[in-house]
């Protein structure tokens, strides 16, 4: 049952992502990406990471995507700002590159003798997770908190209101 669910969710995530990257309107793209993120959160849950699944929904779909939506609505972006020209000229080389890279990756994985080993059932309870995160990886948590602080300061600095130019020279 879980196996079938895994494939259904995986293809849902891939299809939603494909729709997301081909939309012209950024708002539509973000809604499709939220859809893909929900599927991905369920995939995380199936892989035995319930806390990661919850945070995927809360942080990614709930915070980051809404931040994107706010920015798009604040800037009042026109939905149709694509460059002229035939679409295949833009997407052709990119698709070729991506497909070749993906095919090479998959071939490498298939050629690996241990590739057919199966992922066993696994479940990490939030208690185990919290112990590992705040004991074994406490330093990493501190560093990440520093980085969030720097990001907040940097975002404030970049987005500060424009100052009026001070008059140069000492004209009284």
């Amino acid at each position: 049952m879980a196996t079938i669910l895994f494939y259904i969710l995986g293809f849902t995530a891939l299809a939603a992502t494909l729709l997301c990257i081909t939309r012209r309107n950024p708002v539509h793209a973000i809604i499709y990406l939220v859809n893909a993120l929900f599927a991905l959160a369920l995939l995380f849950y199936l892989l035995g990471a319930p806390l990661v699944a919850a945070w995927e929904v809360i942080i990614y779909a709930g915070a980051i995507m809404v931040l994107f939506l706010f920015i798009i609505m604040m800037l009042e972006l026109a939905p149709d700002q694509e460059i002229k020209g035939p679409g295949w000229l833009r997407w052709g080389p990119v698709l070729l590159l991506s497909l070749v890279l993906l095919a090479c990756t998959v071939l490498l994985m298939v050629a690996d003798p241990g590739s057919s080993q199966e992922v066993p059932a696994y479940y990490a309870s939030p208690r185990t997770f919290g112990y590992a995160l705040f004991k074994q990886y406490a330093l990493a948590v501190e560093i990440v908190s520093f980085q969030l602080l720097f990001a907040a300061v940097g975002a404030y600095y970049v987005g500060r209101p424009e100052q009026r130019k001070k008059p140069k020279g000492g004209t009284p």
């Binding site: 879980a2 895994f6 494939y7 995986g10 995530a13 891939l14 992502t17 997301c20 990257i21 950024p26 990406l33 993120l37 991905l40 995939l43 995380f44 199936l46 892989l47 990471a49 995927e56 942080i59 990614y60 915070a63 980051i64 994107f68 920015i71 800037l75 972006l77 700002q81 694509e82 460059i83 990119v94 698709l95 590159l97 991506s98 497909l99 890279l101 993906l102 990756t105 994985m109 690996d112 080993q117 199966e118 992922v119 066993p120 059932a121 185990t128 997770f129 590992a132 995160l133 990886y137 990440v144 980085q147 969030l148 720097f150 990001a151 907040a152 940097g154 975002a155 970049v158 987005g159």
Partner: protein, 101 residues
Amino acid sequence: MIVPLTHVLAFSGALFFLGLACVLARRNLIMILIGVEIMINGAGLALAGGSAFWQNIDGQILVILLMALTSAEVSISLAMVVYLQRRRGTLEANAYNEMHG
């Protein structure tokens, strides 16, 4: 759940390369950022799969750290998007091809 590790990795690789295609093909700065998000999510899926494969919690913790780093990156880069839009009036990546000023 019984799936081969290869399939998990193939899904995450497909997500990663979809994000790469988005970064390379789109010309809107917001869509480029969305492509980066998709790539990061693909990497996170691979990490969670590895965590389940080796019955070890380290991969999941890496996913959480990845989320924190992503939120920092997104806040900075969206602030820069707002700054660029104010300054130049467009989010077309081709409009930013000069280094001066």
